[in-house]
């Protein structure tokens, strides 16, 4: 709340214009994409007629359905395995001191930080030359989990510092064995972290093409791989339609979420 001056106001206006431009550029491709998903023509400037045919085609296209299913399964498994392993690892890292701890942390960083190309290529070489793991679900799953576990570990590790660990001790003190303590105390306390890491892992896994391309082999197709093959074949509004759904779902989710939040806080008043 400092006294404003003329250059300050000019600067503010210029800044605002530039910023608006920035947002326009970020959103322009998305908007064009969404608009054309409802258009009859494959390319061009304007709509040549409103249509839902591309969405209809999406629903009837068997390959899309198959790819979607594959992606969902892979992502779901990745989330479950990663959060499980990650929670264990985070617990071990947070609670104990041991030799090689630093090495483990660095090792965990590696998959996240390496360019996906390198990981994909390395895994391909590994699967085809060393361990004869078939290229398909197994290899894709392994690749996705390898990336997701570190994510889960770090997110949950971050959560660990904010938990009151005396609750764990109290549980043991009251006679619960380790498994029960985990089930009833630790996991519920860590739940926000687990959910957060699931929220990070699921979209990543669902979306990944760079690594999956290398390890998928010829038989299995995830949704991104399907999209990739379609794009290489030429422009197609089906892709627009898929893109539109990708945007719409989280956006609607977000809007509902904010509405829910404000209603909750509104009621509290």
């Amino acid at each position: 709340m400092k006294p404003s001056n003329r250059t300050g106001i000019m600067g503010r206006i210029v800044a605002r214009v530039l910023l608006a431009l920035g947002y326009v550029f970020i959103w322009a491709p998305v908007i064009v994409l969404v608009l054309f998903s409802f258009s009859r023509n494959k390319f061009g400037l304007w709509w040549e007629g409103f249509t839902l045919q591309w969405y209809a085609e999406l629903l009837t296209n068997a390959k899309v359905g198959q790819a979607l299913q594959t992606s969902l399964i892979v992502a779901a498994v990745a989330v479950v395995v990663s959060t499980a392993l990650g929670t264990l690892a985070a617990y071990g890292l947070y609670k104990y001191r041991f030799r090689g701890k630093k090495a483990v942390r660095i090792g965990l960083l590696l998959p996240i930080v390496m360019p996906p190309v390198v990981i994909g290529a390395a895994l391909l070489a590994f699967f085809s030359k060393v361990i004869r793991i078939p290229l398909g679900y197994p290899s894709i799953l392994i690749a996705h989990i390898s990336f997701s576990v570190p994510l889960a570990t770090f997110v949950i590790l971050g959560r660990m510092a904010r938990i009151d660990w005396s609750l764990e001790e109290a549980s043991a003190d009251l006679g619960a064995d380790t498994l029960t303590t985990w089930r009833k105390i630790i996991v519920p306390l860590l739940l926000p972290g687990i959910i957060a890491s699931a929220a990070l892992i699921f979209p990543w896994s669902f979306d990944d093409v760079t690594v999956t391309f290398f390890v998928a082999g010829t038989g299995t197709m995830t949704l991104p791989l399907y999209i990739f093959s379609r794009i290489r074949a030429g422009p197609s509004p089906i892709i627009n339609a898929i893109g539109m759904i990708f945007v719409a779902l989280p956006t609607i989710g977000l809007v509902l979420w904010t509405m829910l939040q404000s209603r909750v806080s509104g009621k509290k008043r």
Partner: protein, 286 residues
């Protein structure tokens, strides 16, 4: 924090993950380095003859230049993302008020469209029959469509567009966590707005910048999809070659040498990053 020095109590917890990492991350990476010094054989086989040929090939010829070009592209992308992203984040934090989170989300939401689809949408806008050309034609500004795709600017735009949110997020987090009383103190002690920025804001957001750089530079370095879709065969990056050698030409040793080279660059970047910014920069990524 319990400390069981000497006892192996930590094993059941950290064990599974460590095993996994060794088997499926460490192993393959070591493998790649190993392969990079072997000779390629016919039909994608690998002969156990050690050679430095693959690396020598990198240094000379078209492929060697590609590595350099890739570094330039990645740095350029990083710079542009920084130049666009920092002011964006700064403005949102300073003037956003109630709408801070919404404004931030508005930057992030477009990145929720699948990676491929966003690149496709740029392609459809810049393409020969694409939106931009059609618009310019109908406005009469050009007489025939422009060849916007399959060029360096197209690839750069694609890279920047894809990775921009990843630069904005950590910088936003760093700026948001800045204690405003520090800036007031600086003002009280006689610092002009520019001085306040350079002596207080910038140094304290260093971690965010480094995190953003790591999140942008490294993926951009290995990206091969953007060059493929937006560059056609005309603009190639290191990742493109890796993909070609591994999948297309089945020349694993050569691909491995490139991959190893990329890895070396990344490790160097990380080392520099930690040296300048400390480990907290890495924590911020999460």
């Amino acid at each position: 924090m319990k400390q069981f020095l000497g006892k192996q109590v930590h094993l059941p917890f950290v064990g599974p993950v460590t095993l996994w990492l060794i088997m499926f991350v460490g192993g393959p990476l070591v493998l790649i380095v190993y392969f990079s010094v072997l000779t390629p054989g016919p039909l994608g086989t690998i002969l156990r003859t050690p050679t430095l040929e693959n690396y020598l090939f990198l240094l000379r010829g078209a492929v060697g230049r590609v590595l350099l070009r890739t570094l330039l592209f990645a740095s350029g992308t990083n710079m542009i993302c920084l130049l666009i992203g920092y002011p964006l984040a700064y403005w949102i934090v300073k003037y956003g008020g109630r709408w801070k989170t919404t404004l931030l989300l508005l930057i992030v939401i477009p990145s929720w469209t699948a990676y491929l689809i966003r690149i496709y949408s740029i392609k459809s806008i810049l393409g020969y029959n694409g939106f931009l050309n059609q618009a310019l034609l109908s406005l009469g500004l050009i007489s025939s469509p422009l060849e916007l795709l399959y060029s360096v600017p197209a690839v750069m735009s694609g890279l920047v567009y894809t990775w921009l949110p990843f630069m904005v997020l950590p910088i936003y987090a760093a700026l948001d966590g800045l204690d405003p009383s520090l800036l007031e103190a600086a003002e009280d002690l006689g610092a002009s707005p520019l001085q306040r920025f350079s002596t207080v804001t910038l140094p304290l957001t260093k971690g965010g910048i480094i995190a953003g750089t790591i999140l942008v530079f490294i993926p951009a370095l290995g990206d091969w999809i953007v060059p493929l879709l937006l560059g056609g065969g005309k603009v190639l990056m290191a990742g493109s070659y890796v993909q070609m050698y591994f999948v297309g030409a089945a020349n694993i040793p050569r691909g491995s040498s490139l991959a190893t080279a990329l890895t070396a660059v990344v490790l160097l970047m990380l080392y520099l990053g930690i040296k300048f910014g400390g480990e907290e920069a890495l924590e911020r990524i999460i």
